[in-house]
Amino acid sequence: MFEAIAFYLFSFLTIVMFWITVTTKHSLYALTALAAGMIFISAFFFILGADFMGVVQIIVYSGAVMALYAFGMMFFDTTRELKEKPTKTRLVPILGALAALLVVLMVIAPVVGENITAHYPIDVAIGNSQAIGMVLFTKYLVPFELAAVMLLVAMIGGIVLAGKMMDEDYSSLSEEQIDEKEGAVS
């Protein structure tokens, strides 16, 4: 009963938040709504008893990914409304709807097809995070190490992309030189 109420409440809130994210023209609203939606998603993990996933959802998505977005947003003036000039007004919603339908089908097919059972049901004796650790570090060893490679690639790529002018020192340049450089960049 309690869990059902919580589930519907949080589904409603999540959908509203993501709806705002998609429809708003204001970048600040979009960002904050997305962050709130991410936090509400973690509630589903808590309801399912997957505490670890819930906390990780908050730490990684709400904490880190959204902080990255927030810094990205600070690069331009957030007070102005974004002027979008959509050219293909039909195609994008149709494609989006199709993609959503596909995801729903993918998720719902095993549920309808047969009675699904959990591969690793929650064991009361050992904790949630302990169980995750055991699975992750024995069965999914290779994906785990591949994740490290992926992170490495992402890190190097990010530094190369974001830090083109990393070795230049603005404080040793004169005002005119800085203006010149800024003009060249923008």
Binding site: D51, I58, T79, G127
Partner: protein, 421 residues
């Protein structure tokens, strides 16, 4: 009874987070005065009762409530402008709730956790919610439309995220040492004795990780020496430049709650949490009568010392002497009541459940004492060290603390495997 025991830790959370705010404000100002060799707030009184200046924060609070609340004309997103202090306040408040205040207690066949959120992943919850507090600062910086605000917000969020990694890595070495992620289990492990005579506190088991954790906790709360985000000599008051009255007070309160929560987590991880040194729950259960006798002797001695100290220091004029007299009478009456209660308990003998309730109260008091001591360290550090420059903050976070924490994990892991525990 059942409902009360469930609501009890929640009430404790409220007390620990909200009631300590005026105490902390008072402590900050008095300790600052002590360190700088001046008097500090000591004039504010209600009918001559000064209580060492503790009336002052109440007066400050009244002042903030009755200030004119205005919205600067250039602020467009009023919703975010009002929401921001709420996020800071709420995140600080919610990060407090995972702390265990006392050992698990069994009453009427139910086992209760004296923890408002009795989940396993307490420490992860703390990290997660504490990092959400950054949003309040970012939104405050944005919605203020002030260059100082946005600079402060940028500095604050960038500092918090830099130190969060080192904090996580320090926590990992604690997890390896205690072999558990539940805060309560960690505290229970800290009740044991190392080599038979040293309490196995986190700071003794993991000195380096402990130090890193304390430093990062200071940085996460934006307290000095890591208060470049609100460095008043450079960027006015940073993200709360444009805030006034109660909205400013909410920022202020959020900061103090965050400080209190950080102290609570530091105490829980490093200084044995609610454990009284050398006396864990089992030992206290076995020797409950000795504990009572010790209290019987200690309480009058301590109160006597306090009364002496007060009479010596609080006697410069008539009103001070009157206050001292009242306080002396009050403390004496309290001590007499307490002593007779203890005598009654000793003569009638305690059942198991009664003694566990008594132990719980003692543990909560010990926890509160340790948290206040840690808060004192926060204040002490603030008035002792100068502020770091911003590049020094980033240098310390990325180039010193993270490699150190990784090395610490490495050596801890090797040690744990070789010790074969």
């Amino acid at each position: 009874m059942h409902l009360f025991m469930i609501l009890f830790p929640i009430m404790l959370t409220l007390i620990f987070s909200l009631v300590t705010i005026p105490l902390l404000v008072w402590m900050e100002r008095r300790v600052a005065a002590l360190i700088q060799n001046r008097l500090g707030p000591n004039r504010c009184n209600i009918k001559g009762m000064r209580l060492g200046g503790i009336i002052q924060p109440i007066a400050d609070m009244m002042k903030l409530i009755f200030k004119e609340e205005f919205y600067p004309a250039h602020i467009k997103q009023k919703f975010y402008y009002i929401l921001a202090p709420g996020i800071v306040f709420g995140a600080a408040f919610l990060s407090f709730i995972v702390v265990p205040y006392a050992d698990d207690i069994t009453l009427d066949g139910f086992t209760y956790h004296i923890q408002a959120l009795p989940i396993e992943l307490g420490i992860l919850w703390f990290v997660a919610i504490a990092s959400l507090g950054v949003y309040g600062i970012i939104i405050a910086g944005w919605s203020s439309h002030n260059k100082y605000s946005i600079l402060g917000a940028l500095r604050a969020s960038s500092q918090v995220i830099s130190y969060e990694i080192a904090m996580g890595l320090a926590i990992v070495s604690f997890l390896i040492t205690y072999d558990s992620i539940s805060l309560n289990t960690m505290v229970q492990a800290q009740g044991e004795l190392l080599f038979g005579f040293i309490p196995a506190w986190g700071i003794i088991m993991q000195p380096l990780a402990g130090l890193i954790f304390i430093v990062t906790a200071f940085a996460e709360t934006n307290r000095a020496p890591f208060d470049a985000p609100e460095g008043e000599s450079e960027i006015v008051a940073a993200y709360h430049t444009e805030y006034s009255a109660m909205k400013f007070a909410l920022f202020f309160m959020g900061e103090y709650i965050a400080m209190s929560a950080s102290s609570a987590i530091i105490v829980t991880l490093l200084f044995g949490g609610y454990q009284i040194p050398f006396l864990n729950t089992q030992v206290m259960h076995q020797h409950i009568n000795l504990v009572l006798i010790a209290l019987l002797i200690l309480v009058p001695l301590l109160s006597m010392g306090f009364i002496r100290w007060m009479q010596k220091n609080n006697s410069c004029d008539l009103s001070h002497r009157r206050e001292t007299k009242y306080a002396t009478i009050l403390i004496t009456v309290f001590v007499i009541c307490f002593e007779s209660f203890l005598f009654y308990l000793l003569s009638s003998g305690l059942s198991y459940e009664q003694s566990s309730v008594g132990i719980m109260i003692l543990q909560i008091l010990s926890f509160a004492f340790k948290v206040m001591l840690m808060n004192f360290v926060f204040v002490w550090v603030r008035w002792t060290f100068p502020r770091f420059r911003y590049d020094q903050i980033q240098h310390l976070g990325w180039k010193i603390l993270i490699p150190l924490a990784l090395l610490n994990i490495f050596f801890t892991a090797i040690f744990v495997i070789l010790a074969g525990v």
